[in-house]
Structure formats: C-alpha cells, structure tokens
C-alpha cells in the first residue's frame, strides 16, 4: 500500500513531484489554521524560545536578589512567585514544547511520512499553549500575585494562594490537554505512518526516544490533571483530599505529584538522549555504538521512572521499608543510563571526529549531563538525602541535567538541523562562541551551588547567611553571563534564517545518515508525497 497525499479540494491528485510549495500565502491561513507539520514545528520552536527568555528573565531576578545577602530587590513573596513561575514556564513552556517542535519537524521526515497522522489535531495541540501561558503569566498581575508555593504546588501552602489559584490550575489543565493530544499524534504517526521497510528497529534514535516519551506523557499528564483537580476541589468545593482532619493527607499530594513528576524529568531528557544519539555518529563518522541496547535502555529507563517517585520525599516521614525500596529502585536507573553514556563514548572512540557546533554541544551534554547524573546518585542515598534535601545541592543537580542536559541538547539539535530547516548554513564562528561561553558560564553558574547546598543553604529563600556570600556572587555572575550569552543564539538563528549567503546541501553534514538528509534543504512543504523504500537501518550504515 502506498501513501500518496491527496488534496481533494485542489481537484487533483498529487503525483509525488511538483507539489513542493503549496504554502498558503495569507498570513492567518499559513500560521493560525495550518495543518502542516513543519509550520507547526516552527510555531512550537518560536513559542518555546519566547518562553525560554521569559522564564530566563525570572531566573535573572532570582540571581540578582541572591547576588548579596540581605533583601535588596524584591519582596520575599515576589521572590517565591519568581521561583514558582520560572520552573512552570521552563518545564511546560520552554523545554517540553521545544521537543514537540523538533518532533513535528523531524519525525515525519525521519520515517518517510507525508505529514503527522492527525494534522488538524496537531494544530490544536499547539494553539492551546499560547492561551494557557497567557493565562498563567497574567496571574502575576492579579491582586494576589502569581502562585508562590513552588512549581510542585504542595498543599497546604498552595491552598493559601489567592485569586490566581484557579487560573493556575486551569492553565495546568490546558497544558495537559495540549501534551496529551500532541503525544497521541506522535504515537499514531510513528506506529502508522512509517515508510515501507522502516521497521521499528530501523527507526532513528530520536524517533525511538520520542515514541517512549509520548507514552510517558499520555500516562502521567492525566495524573497531574487529577492532582491539581483535587487541589481545586479542596480549595473551592470543600473536599478533604489533603486535609488530615477530614481523613485526607497532604503527603498524598506529594505521592501523586511525583508519580507524574519523576516520569516528567524523563519526558524532558529522553528526546535529548535521542538527539545526542543522532549527532555523535555523524561527527564521529561511525555508526552509533549499540543501537539495540540504546532502544532497550530507553525503554528500561521509562519503566523504572514509574516506580521511583518517592525519592523526592525521603524526609517526609515514610516508613523505613519505603525509604529503602525507593533508594534501591532509584539507583537501578543508573544502569540503563550508564549503558547510554558508555555507548556514546564508544561511538566516539576511534572515530574521525570533527567539532562543529552541534558536536560541541553534544559532547558538552555527555560530560555535563553525567555530572548531573552523578549528583542524582548522591541524592538517591536516603541517609545522605537528609542532608541534601531542599538545599542548593538539589538545585545544582536538576539544573545540571536540565540546562547543560536538555537545553544543550536543544541547542545541539538546533545547530544540527537548522541548515535543513532553513536551507542556509549558520555562522560556525558565532556558533562556537555561543558554545564556549555557554559551557563556561553554565558551570560558573551552577557548580558553586553544589558547595552552597552541601554547606546547608536552603533553596527557595531570598536571603542567606553571610558565609554563603562568595559562592552566591560567583553563581549570580555566571547566571547573568549565561543569560546574556543566549542572545548570541538568537542572533545566530536569525542570521541563518534571513541573512546567511551559504546554501546548505541536502546532506548538510559529511557524515549525516537518515531519510531527512535525502530531502532538499529546505525540504518541500510536504515531505514524502511518495514514500521512500527503506532497506536498512540508516544509522547503522549497514550498506
């Protein structure tokens, strides 16, 4: 069965060529009503970059307040609003939509499909987000201010939120609806739209990691929806889910939240694993080491992510058996993660490597993500966690896996596929400047936070004792520099899209393999009107 594309309202049947540019010329038709996976991918990426800067400016407020001991710039309650909103925006507005944007652009091209399986629903899953985040951001201007109980929304504190409470809950519901529809679409596309011969175990790693990510999203976003629904009814409709006097339990919220929250961290990192597994082979000019084990390791990580959630709650007063179980289960995750890291290193081993910007970010990812992984192992030790819990050590840990982890992988992916998307090469010089300044400043920003945490500085507090002053000042300086550095990134992207004179070839990179590199740069509006026939695993280069 072939999969040509038909457009019944254009009164002709596509014949696989000469149909490249059917772009609607009208702006609204093109962007508001679009059903095209590339346009929707672009929308997701632009939205995500905007949120990255909004969330980033909140981080700047936090670092500015923490620059010196004492209260200088903002009220403590506003500080709490900043930490809460920074996290909500970066997690749900920046990192997750960025990965969905890449999924939209790449998955149809990688599996040889004409578009996503459900193009109209694809539009809806994007166009919910700007509304959801406008509502969320608007809470900052309400009389009560925005939510200030931390992104984890723990009761009973969060139930003291004023006017903004219900708006935050419904914004979270909308994000959930968007994520679930987006994930259903991705799963349907991967299972149903592959070109002939594109067997499951021939799929590129990015497709594999997104398949598993989409499964995680469908499994846990409803759990978050349930948790915030219970908060809403506890606040407005007199239920007692989290009220011990009525037989409920505030700790129950933490269990439900982290049943969502732990898989959520893999939702943000698994697509990053996929991207790194695409980039390292290209610039090492070697096949990915251990493709099969990469797939199984990803699936194992996803499975384990459901049974380790209470490692976020070691100090909450669980029975000892629970503490021990969650400690050992959590440590198990280092096995499949270690498989991945060793596979990446083995991929580079004896390769003829070159160090273009995507490769630099990918190598930066492998090194710095591993630091975040190792501090995660330290946090998994129940007894030690009593010291680390709710300190800056935790902040350092998850920022290492998220910033030089997920965000570096996003940068790597952007530099790697931007020539494919735009048809132009970016400036390698400025890309490298962006990488080196990001890599240096991200460490200046986050590494001292390990020491602060070990010395006992609590997180989410706007003031601190003078002994923490030096490391905080260094961290803040690194933060400002890291923030400013990201403006270079915007410059490089805009230059590549609009000003660059250097045209990209279809392959773009000497060592690139995979279906997306067989298409023109930029590819036609509809990717594969006639499906290609796949005869081997492109990444394994068994040809």
């Amino acid at each position: 069965m072939s999969t040509e594309v038909i457009h019944p309202d254009t009164h002709h049947v596509d014949d696989g060529h000469d149909h490249g540019d059917h772009k609607p010329s009208n702006f609204l038709d093109r962007w508001l009503f679009t059903t095209n996976h590339k346009d929707i991918g672009t929308l997701y990426l632009i939205f995500s970059l905007t949120m990255f800067f909004i969330g980033g400016s909140m981080a700047m407020v936090i670092r500015a307040e923490l620059f010196m001991p004492g209260l200088q710039l903002v009220e403590p309650d506003f500080f709490n609003q900043m930490t809460t909103m920074h996290a909500l925006i970066m997690v749900f507005g920046a990192v997750m939509p960025a990965w969905v944007g890449f999924a939209n652009w790449l998955i149809p091209m990688m599996i040889g499909a004409p578009d996503m399986a459900l193009p109209r629903m694809n539009n809806w899953s994007f166009w919910i987000l700007p509304f959801a985040f406008t509502m969320l951001l608007s809470t900052l201007f309400m009389d009560s201010g925005g939510p200030a109980a931390g992104w984890t929304l723990y009761p009973p504190l969060v139930l003291q939120t004023g006017t903004s409470f219900a708006f935050v809950v419904f914004a979270v519901h909308m994000m959930g609806v968007s994520s679930i529809m987006g994930s259903i679409n991705i799963i349907a596309t991967i299972f149903n739209m592959r070109a002939p011969g594109m067997r499951l175990l021939r799929m590129p790693m990015f497709v594999w990691t997104w398949l598993i990510t989409a499964f995680l999203l469908i499994a846990v976003m409803p759990v978050l929806a349930g948790a915030v629904t219970m908060l809403l009814t506890d606040h407005f409709f007199s239920t007692n889910f989290f009220n011990a006097a009525g037989g409920g339990d505030p700790v129950m919220f933490q269990h439900i939240f982290w049943f969502f929250g732990h898989p959520e961290v893999y939702i943000m990192i698994l697509p990053a694993f996929g991207v790194i597994s695409e980039i390292l082979p290209t610039f090492s000019r070697k096949p990915l080491f251990g493709y099969g084990s990469m797939v199984y390791a990803t699936a194992t990580i996803a499975f384990l992510s459901f049974i380790v959630w209470a490692h976020h709650m070691f100090t909450v007063g669980m029975p000892l058996q629970g503490e021990l179980y969650f400690m050992y289960a959590t440590m198990l995750i280092s096995v499949p993660t270690g498989v991945k890291v060793f596979n990446w290193v083995s991929t580079m081993w004896q390769g003829s490597m070159t160090f273009e910007t995507p490769m630099l970010f990918a190598i930066g990812f492998v090194v710095l993500f591993t630091i975040g992984g190792l501090s995660g192992l330290m946090l998994a030790i129940t007894a030690a966690d009593f010291q680390y819990h709710d300190t800056y050590f935790v902040v350092a840990h998850f920022h290492y896996v998220l910033v030089p982890g997920s965000v570096f992988a996003l940068m790597a992916a952007t530099y790697y596929w931007l020539p494919k998307f735009t048809g132009n090469m970016y400036s390698e010089k400025w890309g490298k400047i962006h990488f080196w300044s990001s890599a240096i400043f991200v460490n200046v920003l986050f590494f001292p936070q390990h020491y602060l945490g070990l010395a006992g500085m609590p997180r989410r507090i706007p003031d601190y004792s003078p002994q923490f002053a030096d490391f905080n000042m260094i961290s803040s300086l690194g933060g400002f520099a890291f923030g400013a550095t990201q403006l270079i990134f915007v410059g490089v992207v805009l230059h590549c899209a609009y000003r660059s004179k250097v045209k990209a070839t279809p392959e773009v990179w000497e060592g690139s393999r995979g279906l997306e590199w067989t298409l023109d740069s930029p590819p036609a509006y509809h990717s594969f009107n006639t499906p290609p026939v796949v005869t081997h695993n492109a990444l394994s280069r068994a040809d």
Binding site: M1, P8, I184, A188, G226, A245, M252
Partner: protein, 289 residues
Amino acid sequence: MATHAENSYYVPHGSKWPIVGSLGMITMLASAAGWMNGSATAQWTFWLGAAILIFMLFGWFGTVIRESEAGMYSEQVSGSFRLSMSWFIFSEVMFFAVFFGALFYVRALVIPWLGGEGTGASTNEFLWQGYTPAWPTSGPANVGGDFQTIPAFGIPFLNTLILLTSGLTVTLAHHALKKEHRNQLVLWLAATVALGFTFVYFQVYEYHEAYTQLGLTLGSGIYGATFFMLTGFHGMHVTLGAIMLVVIMIRSMKGHFKPDNHFAFEAVAWYWHFVDVVWLGLFVFVYIL
C-alpha cells in the same frame, strides 16, 4: 478526477476549528476561574465559552463526517484514528487511576496512620487522640458531620445491571451493523442510549438521596471526597458516552457506516465499554468494600 482513497493518505488543508476550540477553551476555563473567585460576569462568559466549544465540536466533527462519507479516508487514515482513540482511552484510564489510587492510599495507609498504627503513633497521640480508624470515615475531626453510605445492593447494583446490559446491547448493535441489518442496528443503539440515560437518572436520584436523606456530601471528609469525585467523574463520562451514542444513532439512521468501515461506531463502543469497566471498579471498591 476521482480520489483514490484506498491508497492515499488524506492530509487536510488548513482548518479554523482548532483555533475556535482554543478560544472556547480559554473563555470557558478563565471564566470558570473567575466564577470560583466570585465574579458575576464570569458566570455568564463561562457558558459563552462552553457554547463556543460545542460549536467547534459540531463544526469539526461535521467536517470529519462529511470527509468520511465522501470516501476520502483510506484504511491507513482509519488506522490513525484507531490508534488515537485507543491512546485517548488510555489517558482516561490514567485519570481514573489517580482517584482510585487516592482511595486505596487513604484506606490502606492514611486512616490506619491517623489511628496510630505504624509510624502514626505520635500523630495519633498528640493530634488525634481517641480516633479509631474506620471506613467509611469523615476523618478524626468528623469534617462534614455524621453521614450514612449508600447500600451497594440497592440502586448501585441496579445500575451495574443496567450498564452491563448496555454493553451487551451495543455489541448486538455492532453485530447488526456488520450484517447490514439497519433497523436492528438503530434499535439496539436506541436501547443502549436509553439504558445509558437511565443510569444517569438513577445516579442523580442517588446523589439527591445522599444530600437530602443521608447527610453524605462532597464535604463529608475523605469518604465524601473520594465517593463523589469518583462516581461524579464516572457519571460525566457516562453522560458524554451517551451523547456520543446519540450521534452514532442519528448517523446510523441517516445510513452512515458500512459493514467493513465504521470507525466512529467502534470508537464510541470502545468508550462505552471503558466506562462500563470503570463502573465495575467503582461498584466493587467504592460501594461494596
């Protein structure tokens, strides 16, 4: 030129329905939040948002039904629909799992701990002295006051029989559709719809009874919370499922669906079986145990 839907994948051109849906959704939810904060205007804009959403559903599904009847959907398109419906139902399963999970967690751990078992000894001693763990409970402070529960083998058992029967009738309708027995198809669907709405009627009756006679409300401690949230969300799903069945019935009367191609019918039937299974869980864990 005729479309050859059998071997092509239909990629629709731009659609205005998603953005209409987003506008409806934000109007409804922002208004709901305003309403909860006591805004009088939001009470009305909420219904405006709901109306926009319903308008969107009519428009969007109308378009899809027209395209389907025009034969634009290949076997592969239908495969995408099947996959998405199955995964949507999986997301619904996870949503109910949260509330079932809360029920199990409370009954297995929280109530015994409040009563002083295990690690809860000092909690009980210093905070809730004299509280003996029991189920049903409105907690150590008896929040919401005394109440009685609804006996399982009254209306709930009747409702179990009703839903199980409706699962049977929708299957009979499916068989009739496959054999092209149009009248039987409509008849069995009508029976399913009737059973569905009867279930909802009994549920409403039971809620009325609970609030007026038994003193059981949403605020009756953790029992009231889990009872009403679980049965309430289930009741909403039954209502939605019954409305979907009505749509399918009307389409069947108009001659839609073919013995070998009737995805919409199957999707609704799956959904209906899903609410059926959830009810069995509710009957056992909420009413009987």
